[in-house]
Amino acid sequence: MDLDTWRLIMSGATIAIGGIFPAIAIGKITAKAVEAIGRNPESASDVRTSMILGVAFAEAIAIYGLVTALIIKFV
């Protein structure tokens, strides 16, 4: 197979595989955060801030995969 075909396949595979674990991680983080808010509704705003931070870290990994896929396709 020539280079363009490989580029096409691999750019799709990079983001597809690279998005699996961040998606699981974000789901787990948000589930635990919601559980914590349920246990202690007064700390909702602190928990929410920490959750947003945690989700940003997890999402960054998916973004690395996305940027790599874009680089494979367009550069």
Partner: protein
Amino acid sequence: MLHISLAAETIAHIGPLPVTNSLLMTWGVMVILLVLAIASTAKLSLIPNNVQSIVEIVLEGLYSFFSTVVGRHVKMIFPLVASLFLFIIVSNWSGLLPGVGTIGFTEPTAFVPLLRGPTADLNMTIALAVIAVIAMQYFGFKTLGLKYSHRFINIKNPILGFVGFLEILSDLSKVISFAFRLFGNIFAGEVLLAVMAFLMPFIAPMPFLMLELFIGFIQALVFSTLTSVFINVSLAHDE
């Protein structure tokens, strides 16, 4: 056909220096923020009216949010962190304006847009990330003096010496992480909007525009909050 370019395109030259379309948009964002600043502080009064009142709402909200995140150091870091937030949010949202990315001229081979969201350019996000990481070291040295260097270079204790080396690596990786998080989110949003507009121009892009508004806000918040949290961590050493 779709026009997607990872790098910002050069549209002019000032002497030997190239001017890219995202640089042009950055100047536009600067003008917006400057006009807002001047208009709100021109006649400062204890009983605010119109523009000053709105800016006070925004700044007071940011100040109370950052004081819950950081605690007592908020006075020192608020100018940096709030400036990062305001600049990044205006930059992110300016990439959604009609005409940005669509109006341009046709070079011999490809279409070159005249304007492009500033944070969709990797140069800008790397610059912001370097500013944030240097600010962490600056505030560390300013508050703790030379003892702050014990975080990185520790000769007495071999384990702490290795931990110090890992801290240096971790700070370098923060630059990469900050830069690519912001760039990836905003650039991928632009690509998504371009693809959606290409597939079905009239109704389908609307939810994606709302998503991009939200993402722009969240990424600005995350960048500034992470900067403030890391500054807090670096100030907590030796205290």
